[in-house]
């Protein structure tokens, strides 16, 4: 197939296309959230949808996250397939009971009799000086709490396919998109935030990690925007003859433990790169998975490069000091091989 026939989309356009196609296909799908209508979503995920589907299916809500996320649960129980948007993941604290205690547990508490087919979308990530309450990733925290699937795409292709899978899934799915992968005009440009996206609907399976770059010398397990950073670092490492395998988890729940173990068995070294807080979260879980599944294959203790356990500072030099980046990944990889 000739390269020029490939359609390129930003991630935010890929997501809104997924919404549009699923809303066309299934009248029970509708969207609710703050500023998703005329505004089109603060991160552009719903641009154009109000015009196309009208205010009954693209509902702007008051600033009442407990109220409207709770309402999405009720609507899901009564035959709808709502997609509710929590504008920034950092706001979870005003509505967490509805999310983790109600949405995530009803299916289990009902002994499998009731289903809560809804998607909760939310924006994650920092790097642009938005401070301690608008920059977190937090998937590690949600992942600790049973009953919801969690997907965290890194590319436009995965973003569309995972959104379609999430909407069609009969379980509650938390869909977390990093602002830095959306391809927004008002963010620092990121070439990897635009990519080929097929026009027709397609799914990407939930629970399956993806080798975004094959390598033999170490495994970098990562997700979301950090996949882009890891791929950049892998290019630098390759120039020095180090071939890093970059495994994009894509889903946090279910976690593709087989893929982690298989890659570590191959490369014998593991570096976890994670924008979430370092301790008691994803990086420790991935390392434990590798240690328990590939103990004898490990040539060095697994390493991690994550956000230090501090609230996210506003000032640019402070925040940049904390964030994992290309250079730090290169350094950590080399140290792992030393």
């Amino acid at each position: 197939m000739a390269v020029e026939t490939k359609r390129l989309l930003t991630t935010s356009k890929a997501i809104s296309e997924a919404f549009a196609q699923e809303m066309e296909r299934d009248p029970s799908v509708f969207l609710m959230g703050e500023d998703i209508g005329v505004y089109g979503g603060i991160f552009g995920a719903t641009t154009g949808l109000l015009e196309r589907f009208g205010p009954e299916r693209v509902m702007d809500t008051p600033i009442s996250e407990t109220g409207f996320i709770g309402a999405a649960i009720g609507a899901a129980l009564s035959g709808m397939r709502p997609v509710a948007e929590l504008m920034f993941v950092d706001f979870f604290g005003v509505c967490m009971d509805q999310i983790y205690n109600h949405m995530a547990k009803i299916h289990y508490e009902s002994g499998g009799n009731l289903k809560v087919p809804m998607v909760l979308t939310t924006a994650i990530g920092g790097g642009y000086s938005d401070g301690a309450q608008h920059s977190q990733t937090l998937y590690g925290m949600f992942a600790h709490l049973p009953g919801m699937k969690i997907v965290v795409p890194s590319t436009p292709y995965d973003a569309k396919g995972l959104m379609i899978s999430a909407i069609r899934d009969d379980n509650p799915v938390l869909y977390m998109f990093h602002k830095g992968i959306m391809g927004l005009g008002w963010m620092t440009p990121n070439p990897r935030a635009t990519g080929h996206v097929p026009e027709e609907p397609y799914t990407v399976p939930i629970g399956t990690a993806d080798v975004k770059r094959a390598g033999r010398d170490l495994t970098i397990v990562t997700l979301s925007l950090m996949v882009h950073r890891a791929l950049d670092a892998a290019e630098d490492l390759a120039k020095e003859g180090i071939e890093a395998e970059v495994l994009d988890l894509r889903s946090v729940i279910p976690l593709d433990r087989e893929a982690i173990v298989a890659s570590v068995r191959k490369t014998h070294r593991l570096l976890v790169v994670d924008e979430d807080y370092q301790s008691f979260g994803l990086s420790g879980e991935v390392i434990t998975t590798a240690v328990q599944g590939a103990f004898d294959s490990l040539d060095a203790p697994p390493a991690r490069l994550a956000y230090p356990d501090v609230p996210i500072p506003y000032s640019r030099p402070l925040e940049q000091f904390c964030l994992p980046n290309r250079e730090k990944i290169v350094a950590a990889a080399k140290q792992l091989l030393a």
Binding site: G67, F68, A72, H102, E109, G111, N171
Partner: protein
């Protein structure tokens, strides 16, 4: 005024609720003597009974169809039964059995029933937004169903109450918010928790009707709820109803109730709304004494059968605990 059939049916509901809960209370205490051990016996865990609050459940649910959604609280049995939940599967769930509504996974605070669109939860206020969502679905689907959320006066001080009422009012959804004011939230009296005397007045904050039912009378509840349900079904939006009701027992079984005087407890027992209602029905010749007795007998038999079903049902397989996290 409801017609005689409705009155008799409300009486019947109240009787079967009362008897069901008395049997649950007995079963709950089994295995917990001499030393009360909350984990012991055929019914372990917390147990919140609703004796005294039957008028609210009977009066409101008389207007509902099984397809109307109901959300309730940690004190859910009266509402569940009045809304038509299968008593056997309810009992079996309380006993933690495989034949229970949730195959033993939920327990008495987490009853979910597709047949009656019923849900409840152990977190105060949690179910109020859920009801708004059921109602939102009905509106989108063009159905004339309603959703009803029951909650205590203590829950009216949770943020979820406020957010849910505003949403329902804003979107003109078919919801009833029913506040069971039993004057207590565990040991905290209403006056020490709520800045105003009547939660019905909070309806003004949302521009919706707010009606106070000042006594614990199923007929008064029936009439107020009837109007609200009818308005909701024809697209007139939500209502807030507050009923001053009575919690005859402790917050949960085992509650020493040091915070209530023996006089208060005796006074409450004397004014037991079920007995008062039954007397009235007999005095007004809606029921004969024999009818009343027959109702108790019928309910007794139903309850005994349900408890028997629960007792004799098998426990779920232990390893099945790992199932049903995901559909």
């Amino acid at each position: 005024m409801p017609d005689n059939d409705v009155l008799r049916e409300m009486h019947h509901q109240m009787v079967r609720i009362r008897l069901f809960e008395e049997s649950i209370q007995q079963a709950y205490l089994e295995g917990k003597t001499p030393a009360f051990d909350i984990a012991a016996g055929p019914v372990p865990g917390e147990m919140h009974l609703a004796a005294g609050q039957e008028p609210v459940a009977a009066g409101v649910c008389a207007h509902l169809r099984a397809s109307d959604a109901v959300t309730a609280t940690h004190r859910p049995h009266h509402i569940a039964l009045a809304h038509g939940m299968d008593m056997k599967r309810l009992a079996a769930e309380i006993f933690g059995k495989e034949t229970g509504l949730g195959h033993g996974r939920g327990g008495h605070m987490h009853l979910f029933d597709a047949a009656t669109n019923f849900g409840c939860s152990g977190i105060v206020g949690e179910g109020i937004p859920t009801a708004v969502g059921h109602a939102l679905a009905y509106k989108k689907q063009g159905r004339d169903n309603v959703a009803v959320s029951f909650f205590g006066e203590g829950a009216a001080n949770q943020g979820a109450f406020h957010e849910a009422l505003n949403l329902a009012a804003l979107w003109k959804l078919p919801v009833l918010f029913v506040c069971e004011d039993n004057a207590w939230a565990i040991s905290v009296p209403k006056e020490k928790a709520t800045a105003i005397a009547n939660n019905a007045d909070r309806a003004a904050a949302y521009g919706i009707p707010g009606v106070l039912v000042p006594d614990n009378d199923p007929v008064a509840v029936y009439e107020v709820a009837g109007e609200a349900v009818a308005r909701a079904r024809r697209g007139g939006g939500p209502s807030l109803i507050e009923v001053k009701t009575d919690r005859l027992l402790g917050h949960f079984e085992g509650d020493p109730q040091m915070y209530r005087s023996p006089e208060e407890l005796a006074r409450l027992k004397d004014r037991d709304a079920l007995r008062a209602f039954e007397r009235r029905l007999i005095e007004t010749a809606v029921l004969t004494a024999a009818d009343a007795q027959a109702t108790w007998d019928r309910a007794r038999a139903e309850v005994d059968e349900a408890i028997q079903f629960a007792r004799t049902s098998p426990y779920p397989e232990p390893a099945a605990a790992l199932l049903h996290v995901f559909a």
